[in-house]
């Protein structure tokens, strides 16, 4: 592997694209022979947190009748408090800009703490009915904790858990799998609340840009908002009052098109374009349906390949324009 890379560097040098000094620096660095297992170890930490919290969750779920409730509760509480204790002790404290733990270990510790607190509060409500019939509270409290921790510890993973909590409060499951299965909108009122939540997220991201609060969270907010609004709109396109939603979809796509430029995010850009394309095709289909050209159907289908070629050319143009805006997304 290394040899291949070195070869390429040498060729760059031969073509005089890099100078001697750079060449020496690179060679000196390569001689250190660094093999960083940073990503791998972080992945293991993440996995261990997921394994542990899932294990604890199932443990409580299965043995809820056999072990003493107090024993479980106190054990859970102790573990959670320990996680919080170490995270707070090592935290940099709240800053408006992006902050990092000195040791990435604590990013995962705080994640474990959040997941365990969710289990703890859920268990409390289930067993003792602490919040009585205010079921929403049992969702809102973990969400509030998660939101606080996300901002205090600057953790995007915790932030996305908080957003799923918000969605859960209004009755939505927004996990990626639920989105893929498209089972997150059963009723109209749910999809309206999804759109409302998306709008709240957009407004919040605009506001936090204004007051300069954790601007790097905007990508997370925008991603959730884009998918929430667009999928809700698309679901509603198949209803009789689709006209309103196609306008809403158009507005939403236009907004996110500009956002993807300002955030320089390829993922937002691509998904916005795909949703727009879907909307346009839907509109086209409706128009064809409306003017009712059954006799012309066969000659019409001859045009289909040209339609695709046309749209491909359009896409290429759009992407070229976007790239000129000097795209630099993390998803390379």
């Amino acid at each position: 592997m290394g040899k291949f890379e070195e070869n390429a560097t040498n060729r760059l040098f031969e073509k005089q694209l890099i100078d001697k000094e750079q060449m020496d620096q690179i060679a000196a660095y390569r001689r250190l022979n660094i093999f960083s297992v940073n990503t791998e170890l972080k992945l293991f930490l993440y996995l261990s947190v997921l394994l542990f919290t899932s294990g604890i969750g199932i443990l409580i779920y299965e043995n809820v009748d056999s072990i003493g409730h107090i024993a479980i509760l106190s054990l859970l509480l102790i573990v959670t408090v320990i996680c919080y204790y170490f995270s707070f002790k090592n935290a940099v404290g709240f800053h408006k800009q992006q902050t990092y733990f000195e040791n990435p270990l604590f990013d995962y510790l705080i994640l474990a703490a959040i997941l365990l607190s969710c289990t703890f509060i859920g268990y409390l409500q289930f067993q003792y009915g602490t919040f009585g019939t205010h079921y929403g509270l049992a969702t809102l409290i973990p969400t509030a904790i998660a939101l606080f921790c996300a901002y205090y510890f600057d953790n995007k993973t915790v932030l996305s858990i908080a957003i799923t909590g918000l969605a859960a409060y209004i009755g939505l499951s927004v996990s990626p799998q639920a989105l893929l299965n498209n089972d997150f909108q059963q009723t109209d009122s749910l999809s309206y609340s999804a759109i409302a939540l998306g709008l709240v997220l957009i407004i919040w991201s605009i506001y936090s840009t204004k007051i300069d609060l954790k601007k790097h969270f905007n990508l997370v907010f925008s991603t959730f908002a884009l998918h929430l609004i667009s999928i809700s709109c698309i679901n509603n396109l198949f209803e009789p009052y689709w006209g309103v939603f196609i306008i809403l979809l158009a507005v939403c796509c236009y907004y996110f098109y500009t956002v993807s430029y300002s955030l320089k995010s390829v993922s937002l850009f691509v998904f916005t374009i795909l949703y727009t394309y879907f909307g346009l095709n839907f509109l086209l289909f409706k128009i064809i349906d409306l003017i009712n050209i059954e006799d012309l159907m066969i000659p019409f289908s001859f045009l289909v390949p040209f339609y695709f070629i046309g749209s491909i050319i359009l896409f290429i143009r759009l992407i070229k324009k976007f790239n000129k805006n000097n795209a630099d997304d993390s998803i390379q």
Partner: protein, 386 residues
């Protein structure tokens, strides 16, 4: 054989190298921009999302062209619809050739036609031979190799390895019961063969064009070698292929060999990869080890799943913690420090996405008095069943 201009292809490698140098901080953005202006490369997309979007569009285009042809000639070949599918494959090959002549290399569109043509060809042969696996894989082996050599898409190299392996497997099936019995051992020999023949090529490959393909062969052979001796795979295959019935108290033949193999091979991969600083092998070794644990737990579940998960989580955490502590401040060799050359990792980006899968779910509290199975409060981890 290669359809692209060789100099432009080399420029692709050089530009990639320049990009990783820029990311590592050895040159500034301005110099990189100058280099990218200097080097002419074929049209391509580094970003997987964009490439995927174009792939999707390419598939639409491919199918619409096919339906276009069908409309034209459907009256001519009323009965021989089988020919039609060969025609579709031909359309794919022609379009692939056309696009690569237009200097599309890994753009997404060309991928759609190159992959699509091969799969359509496989389908066409399958229909005309009543699904004879051996013939399909033999022909695919040749066509995918040819198109890898010509277009140099890694997907074709992967298809070639799959086709070669399945040709071997189908040939062994032809031999009857003996063939099926020796299948694991033949596959082990086969993958060892690929591994040892790819290694010297990797060491002194002068023309760099096929480097990635050989690297893929190397990784493929490691995975195949492990899987061909994995206890779970061998046991399930011997039940499926030979119809062997395994009593609760007995085991498959050579069972101890396969038990040992299941654990020794991943461990060997892990140790060897750390010694040789081979990242791909490290990942393969780690995943293989995970699969080994799963394989044994599949038959011998000593601990209930929840205890197992909790303990595994704790153990993994402890091990990682110590490893991090130990490697934290090393400046050379294996270290926890960030390598300047480490590429931005997809894992770090998808972390938040995976976590939101575990996030809170809406409660179904409207139903009566909260049945237990309703999972009313699927707090955090408890909803993340495996």
């Amino acid at each position: 054989m290669i359809v692209y201009n060789k100099e432009e292809l080399e420029n692709v490698t050089l530009l990639d190298q320049a990009q990783s140098l820029e990311k590592a901080g050895f040159m500034n953005k301005k110099q990189y921009d100058e280099i990218s202006k200097e080097l002419i490369i074929p049209k391509r997309h580094n970003n997987l999302l964009i490439r995927g979007a174009f792939f999707l569009l390419g598939i639409f285009l491919y199918s619409s062209i096919c339906s276009f042809f069908t409309l034209i000639i459907v009256d001519l070949i009323a009965e021989n619809f089988k020919i039609l599918i060969f025609l579709y494959a031909l359309v794919g090959f022609v379009a692939a050739e056309f696009l690569s002549k237009q200097k599309f290399y890994g753009y997404g569109l060309d991928d759609a036609f190159i992959v699509g043509a091969q799969l359509t060809l496989a389908l066409a042969i399958g229909i005309s031979t009543d699904g004879n696996g051996l013939i399909i894989s033999l022909i695919l082996m040749i066509t995918s190799l040819l198109s890898y050599l010509r277009y140099m898409h890694l997907s074709m190299a992967l298809l070639f390895f799959f086709a070669t392996t399945s040709s071997l497997v189908y040939t062994l099936f032809e031999l009857g019961a003996t063939g099926k019995t020796i299948l694991p051992f033949v596959l082990m020999l086969f993958s060892a063969g690929i591994y040892y023949s790819s290694k010297p090529i990797l060491k002194n490959l002068k023309p760099t064009f096929y480097h990635k393909g050989v690297l893929l062969a190397n990784s493929f052979s490691l995975i195949l070698f492990y899987l061909s001796g994995n206890y779970l795979v061998v046991r399930e295959l011997s039940v499926a292929l030979l119809g062997a019935e395994i009593d609760p108290n007995s085991d498959i033949s050579f069972a101890y060999f396969f038990y040992a193999f299941t654990f020794i091979v991943p461990a060997a991969y892990l140790v060897y990869s750390l010694l040789k600083k081979d990242r791909i092998m490290l990942w393969i070794g780690a995943s293989a080890m995970t699969f080994s644990i799963y394989s044994i737990r599949f038959y011998y579940a000593i601990l209930p799943i929840e205890t197992f998960l909790t303990i595994a989580g704790l153990l993994l955490f402890a091990c990682t913690y110590f490893a991090m502590k130990k490697l934290k401040n090393k400046a050379t060799g294996i270290t926890f420090r960030l390598d300047r050359f480490t590429k931005a990792n997809a894992f770090m980006n998808s972390e938040a996405l995976i976590a939101s899968q575990l996030g809170l779910k809406p409660e179904t509290v409207l139903e009566s008095d909260m049945e237990f199975g309703g999972g009313g409060f699927s707090g955090g981890g408890s909803s993340g069943e495996f």
